[in-house]
Symmetry: C2
Subunit: 95 residues, 2 copies
């Protein structure tokens, strides 16, 4: 799926409610999903792990809609080379 | 950009290092980026806000590579209707 397609679908499905809830509460919900992803990494249930990755990405797209950020454009700098060092694979010195 | 294309690019650029770092430390780095997103929402710098959304998505893709999860497949259930109530827009009772 295109990132733009996901973001548009999230807007169609949830933007009215997301806007009523607001960015702060939507961020809190994203954080909750990140916590559920942490738990899924521990339990070893593959279907649940995939589910929680999807939920984190979906809530990130909802928050991007509220903040009027194009999520696909935001990540385009990672498409070919490392945005910090310019190499592929990355040659940055950090761990 | 396709979600699959982003995930493949992140693998090409970073998987060797991500694998040496491991899932736990990569999750910690994802959490750090989520914190940077929270801060960017507060400061009002639009370029920084877009940058931090991109970093959260990039680290989520790195973690998905380490956990052998297809990020595009994980979010496919949000493509057309709400995966909980089946409606579009969503008609779930939660806030």
């Amino acid at each position: 799926m295109e990132i733009e397609e996901l973001q548009a679908s999230m807007a169609h499905l949830y933007l009215d409610r997301d806007a009523r809830r607001g960015s702060d509460a939507t961020f809190r919900w994203l954080a909750e999903e990140v916590g559920e992803l942490a738990k899924a990494m521990r339990t070893g249930d593959r279907a649940n792990l995939e589910h929680e990755f999807g939920d984190v990405l979906a809530w990130l797209a909802s928050l991007a809609n509220l903040e009027d950020v194009d999520l696909g454009a935001s990540v385009a700098r990672y498409a070919e080379t490392c945005p910090r060092c310019g190499a592929a694979p990355c040659g940055c010195p950090f761990p």
